[in-house]
């Protein structure tokens, strides 16, 4: 694969994500996931969290899209830069 192919793959992933978010808000946003469901059914309250994160996943389509784009970029950069650094050390 070349960089053009990776660019296409990125575009496809992000378009699918944007479309998937529509389905998410239509069918899933109001409901808990597996662990949350088990906690809810057993009346387990979530305790105060130790770390306050700077961002959230967003509360509507646009907010979630922005959160997703930020998460996508951060994850890509972190993995890419780490592996590139690793690769440079191998060559040295």
């Amino acid at each position: 694969m070349n960089w053009k192919s990776y660019g296409k793959a990125t575009a496809v992933i992000l378009v699918l994500f944007a479309i998937g978010l529509v389905g998410y808000f239509a069918f899933s946003a109001a409901f808990p996931d597996g662990l949350e469901k088990v906690m809810e059914d057993n009346h387990v309250e979530e305790a105060e969290q130790v770390w306050t994160a700077p961002l959230s996943y967003g509360e509507n389509w646009a907010g979630a899209l922005i959160a997703g784009l930020i998460g996508f970029a951060l994850t890509f950069l972190l993995v890419f830069l780490y592996l590139k650094g690793m690769r440079s050390r191998q060559k040295a």
């Binding site: 469901k37 059914d41 979530e46 959230s56 994850t75």
Partner: protein
């Protein structure tokens, strides 16, 4: 509940501190081993591929899907990562995603990160890898079963950890075993079907449009299974 409030991974304060420590103690050596193994030999071709796959799994994990009974599930992506990148690449990718989700988006507690890493970045990739190896001779089943088993067994582990927390703490943390284990196993047996369908769909698609990607993970047997 709105997406902004969602905390889909283990939060702080749910598990007994001993179990929290156990999570870190087990997860970190596996992650260190994965980093060490990847350090020894990173394929240049895998660098952008791993980065895009990691980023793709990050956004895919945001998209919960309904599984009935007022419950949703989301892709973990461990089997997909292991199929495409191998065991150590899969562990590294899932670790990166979970750390970003925790530190940047508050998904999963900071103290519970070790447990989330254990379940989703260690157990799920190891199970995926094991099933793929085990089913070499039954290749058409390998991908969906690896994906299903990775989610089911990771969730079962979570149920066991909830039970262990309850027992150690005398009920102050966790959930009693008779409830936590069947509940986690039951819901995730269904959620894992979604994981299996999505993973198989993506792998079949990739095998059609870019089969060389499957070679990068050195899982040639998987490619043969789906082409």
């Amino acid at each position: 509940m709105l997406l902004g409030e969602v905390n889909t991974h283990i939060p702080d304060g749910l598990m007994d501190p001993v179990v929290v420590g156990l999570g870190w103690a087990i997860a970190l050596p596996f992650i260190a081993l994965a980093v060490y193994k990847l350090n020894k030999k990173v394929d240049e071709r895998m660098v952008p591929f791993m980065a895009i796959l990691a980023a793709g799994i990050f956004v895919a994990q945001m998209l919960n899907f309904p599984v009935g009974g007022g419950t949703t599930g989301h892709l973990v992506g461990a089997a997909l990562a292991v199929i495409l990148l191998g065991l150590y690449g899969g562990i590294l990718v899932l670790t990166t995603i979970l750390v970003i989700q925790c530190l940047v988006f508050g998904d999963g507690g900071l103290t519970a990160l070790g447990l989330n890493l254990l379940n989703m970045a260690v157990i799920a990739p190891l199970v995926s890898y094991g099933v793929l190896r085990l089913l070499k001779k039954h290749q058409s089943l390998a991908v969906p079963l690896a994906a299903w088993a990775s989610v089911f067994l990771a969730a079962l582990a979570c149920g066991l950890l909830l039970a262990l927390s309850y027992t150690i703490s005398g009920g102050d943390f966790g959930i009693v075993a008779s409830v936590s284990i069947p509940a986690m196993a039951g819901w995730h047996a269904i959620i894992a079907i979604g994981e299996a369908l999505i993973t198989t769909g993506v792998v079949v698609f990739i095998s059609r449009v870019a089969p060389e990607m499957l070679e990068m993970g050195k899982n040639q047997e998987v490619k043969e299974a789906v082409v």
